[in-house]
C-alpha cells in the first residue's frame, strides 16, 4: 500500500474516489447537450502522446473499444498516471479517457480500486451515449483499474 503522505507538491490532495465523485456530479447536473460539450472539453485536455510511447503501441490497445484506443496506465514511485492516445474521430471516448487520467494523476495506485462501473452510471453518460458505446467505456475503465492495481501491488 502506497503512503498517502508521499503524495505532495502541486497535485491535488483529494483521493481518486473524491475526484470521481466531483466529476460525476459535474456531469450529472448537466443536460444531454451540455454533457457532450463537457466530454469534448475533456477530450481537448488530453495531451498528445509523448514520442517515447508511440513506438510501443503493441499490447496497449483496448480491443473491446470501437475506435483505436491505446492506454498506458503506469505507477511511478507509487503514484498512478495514465498516458493515452485516442483517435480524433472518437472525441467522446477521448474525453472519457481524459477524465480517468485526471482522476488518477499522482495518486497512490491502490486508490484505483475506486474506478468501478458505477462511475459511468453516476455521470448519466449511458443515457447520452447508449448501451453499446457505454460498454466500450466500461472496458476502458476496467483496463485502467486492473493495470494500476496490478502495477501498484507489484
Amino acid at each position: 500500500m502506497a503512503d498517502e503522505a508521499a503524495v505532495t507538491g502541486g497535485t491535488a490532495g483529494d483521493s481518486v474516489a473524491e475526484r470521481l465523485a466531483r466529476i460525476a456530479d459535474e456531469f450529472a447536473d448537466l443536460d444531454s447537450r451540455d454533457k457532450l460539450e463537457l466530454l469534448v472539453e475533456y477530450a481537448a485536455s488530453l495531451p498528445p502522446l509523448p514520442a517515447a510511447y508511440a513506438a510501443r503501441r503493441g499490447d496497449s490497445r483496448v480491443h473491446e473499444c470501437q475506435t483505436p484506443v491505446f492506454l498506458w496506465p503506469e505507477v511511478i514511485d507509487g503514484r498512478a498516471g495514465l498516458v493515452a492516445e485516442v483517435a480524433p474521430e472518437a472525441p467522446t471516448v477521448k474525453g472519457f479517457v481524459a477524465v480517468l487520467a485526471e482522476a488518477v494523476a499522482g495518486r497512490p495506485a491502490a486508490e484505483a480500486a475506486a474506478l468501478d462501473d458505477t462511475f459511468i452510471d453516476r455521470t448519466g453518460l449511458t443515457d447520452v451515449l447508449g448501451i453499446l458505446r457505454s460498454r466500450g467505456l466500461r472496458a476502458i475503465l476496467a483496463r485502467v483499474r486492473k493495470s494500476l492495481l496490478a502495477a501498484g501491488a507489484g
Binding site: 475506435t67 483505436p68 458505446r133
Partner: protein
C-alpha cells in the same frame, strides 16, 4: 452525378450550403461518435443519434411509430420536409438514419455525398451553435416491410436460393472472427455467413473522400464481381444492420435494384439463433450444399 438510378437522392456540399436556411429543408447529422457533431456541425444541422434516438430502449427494435413522430416533430421535420442526412465514416450512420426514415415512409430524404469528410475537404465552415428548430407536426406511416427483413423471412429467402449480400469484412464472412477488425465482439456465438451470401465489404462502395463511387465502378463491383441481378429480390446484412443500410442505399438508389431489404438483425441475431444454417469459409455455400452449412465445422475453407 450521371448514371445513378435515382440521382436526386444525392446532394453536394454546395447544395447544402445554399439550402441551409431554406425552411423546407432540414439538415441532419448522424455519427458514430456524438462528440463530432458537438465539436462542429454544418450550420443549422440538427443531430439524430442512431443509438439514443432511433433504438427502442426496452425491446430490441427501432423506436415505434409514435416515438418516431415525436422525434421528427422535435427536430422540426414535417412530412413534406426535405431531410438531408450526412455524417462521419462515408455516411455510414447517415444511411442508417435514412433507412429508418424510409421505414416510416418519409418521402423526401437525401444524402450529402461525402458527408463530414467532403464538407471539411471543401473548406466549408463548422458551427457549434445550438440548433433549436421550431417544432413541427409529423404523422408517420406504419413500418414499410418492403425494406426490412426479419429472421424468418431471411430463412425462407435462403431456402429459396435467392440472392443475399454479406457486407462485413472477409474475415467475418469466412468465420474467422465475429466482429469487424478493430471493433468489439458484440456477442455472436458462431462465426461464418448465411449460406448463399456473397461478400462485398460495405466500404468498397465509397471513394477515399467519402463520396460514393461512380455507377460504372459500382456496377463492376456488384453486378460483375459477385453477379447480383438487379431484378432479383435481395437481402443485405452485416453485424447489426448498420453497414448494410449503406449497401441497401447503394443498391436501391444508385444502382436501381428493384427489391432490396436490410436484415437489421444481421449476424448478431443469426450467429446466436438456434438451428439456422451457417456456412464457413470463402465460398457462399447454400442449404443444398451440405459441405458448406452448419454442422460441418470445417466448412469449405
Amino acid at each position: 452525378m450521371p448514371g445513378y438510378a435515382h440521382p436526386e437522392v444525392l446532394v453536394s456540399t454546395a447544395w447544402v450550403a445554399e439550402h441551409r436556411d431554406d425552411p423546407r429543408v432540414r439538415i441532419v447529422e448522424s455519427d458514430e461518435d456524438r462528440g463530432l457533431y458537438t465539436m462542429g456541425h454544418v450550420p443549422g444541422a440538427v443531430e439524430i443519434d442512431w443509438q439514443v434516438d432511433l433504438q427502442d430502449p426496452l425491446q430490441r427494435d427501432y423506436i415505434d411509430r409514435a416515438a418516431f413522430e415525436r422525434l421528427c416533430a422535435a427536430r422540426g421535420i414535417a412530412n413534406d420536409t426535405t431531410v438531408v442526412l450526412y455524417g462521419d465514416k462515408n455516411n455510414w450512420w447517415a444511411c442508417y438514419t435514412f433507412w429508418v426514415f424510409k421505414l416510416y415512409g418519409h418521402a423526401d430524404c437525401r444524402i450529402m455525398d461525402g458527408g463530414r469528410k467532403r464538407w471539411e475537404l471543401d473548406g466549408r465552415p463548422w458551427s457549434t451553435d445550438r440548433v433549436s428548430p421550431p417544432a413541427a407536426r409529423y404523422t408517420a406511416s406504419e413500418q414499410d416491410g418492403s425494406i426490412r427483413a426479419l429472421r424468418d423471412e431471411v430463412l425462407r429467402h435462403v431456402k429459396a436460393g435467392r440472392q443475399l449480400l454479406d457486407v462485413r469484412s472477409p474475415e467475418e464472412y469466412r468465420g474467422e472472427r465475429m466482429h469487424m477488425p478493430d471493433y468489439p465482439n458484440e456477442g455472436a456465438v458462431r462465426g461464418g455467413h448465411i449460406p448463399g451470401a456473397v461478400n462485398v465489404p460495405w466500404a468498397r462502395a465509397c471513394n477515399d473522400d467519402g463520396t460514393f463511387k461512380s455507377v460504372r465502378d459500382l456496377e463492376k463491383l456488384y453486378l460483375r464481381e459477385v453477379k447480383l441481378k438487379r431484378r432479383s429480390p435481395t437481402i443485405a446484412y452485416c453485424r447489426i444492420g448498420e453497414r448494410s443500410s449503406l449497401t441497401w442505399f447503394v443498391l436501391t438508389y444508385l444502382l436501381g435494384f428493384a427489391n432490396v431489404k436490410n436484415y437489421d438483425g444481421s449476424w448478431l441475431e443469426w450467429g446466436n439463433a438456434v438451428r439456422v444454417p451457417i456456412a464457413k469459409g470463402e465460398h457462399p455455400g447454400g442449404v443444398g450444399q451440405p459441405a458448406a452449412v452448419g454442422g460441418s465445422p470445417d466448412g469449405q475453407s
